[in-house]
Symmetry: C2
Subunit: 112 residues, 2 copies
């Protein structure tokens, strides 16, 4: 359920405050309208997010975390912290790994 590209970005945002459709599009880099709606519907479906339509013109819709959604966010916070803390390590590990792969590739490519 959270093993999806955008859910882990949406939920922490909603933990701060209610967010509107266009705000998401601005705040989450790279998400398309389609994927945003799809993910929000999914989260709504599981009762994690509540969609509030003020039925005004022009439309005003906001999304909030439900109590269950909030309880999920609580266990997600440590992951954010972990990610922030370990990001540099992950990056260098990745670069090292890729460098190793490259050198092996060149061995296979130029066996002379």
């Amino acid at each position: 359920m959270i093993s999806t590209k955008w859910a882990l970005l949406i939920i922490p945002l909603l933990a701060e405050r209610p967010v509107r459709n266009n705000e998401f599009l601005r705040l989450i880099d790279g998400v398309s309208q389609k994927m945003l709606t799809q993910t929000l519907r999914e989260l709504e479906r599981y009762g994690l997010v509540e969609r509030i339509d003020y039925r005004t013109v022009p439309p005003h819709v906001e999304y909030r975390l439900t109590p269950i959604g909030r309880s999920l966010n609580l266990v997600l916070v440590p992951i954010d912290d972990w990610a922030e803390k370990n990001f540099p390590k992950l990056l260098t590990a990745q670069q090292d790994f890729d460098r190793r792969q490259e050198s092996e590739a060149s061995v296979r490519t130029k066996p002379l």
Copy 2:
């Protein structure tokens, strides 16, 4: 990084003990050899998982968590707990949601 279909299933398994390729295939329902290798390589790439090749015949390869991987698992445990605890709620929420969708659909379909 963990927003991928199999990573969240692989890591907790490795937290228990080292696991071999075929064990994964047996223990993780639905994973294919291709996806398993792909995910393991990815985790290895970030330095979360270590691949140990005993260089025997027949081959014996095992995967372990690195210290960083272990620290990640630590923050993942609460998610597992959360999931187990809230699964019933999520399920009924989902069913309710789907039922609501259905009734709305029938309104749109037969407007007489």
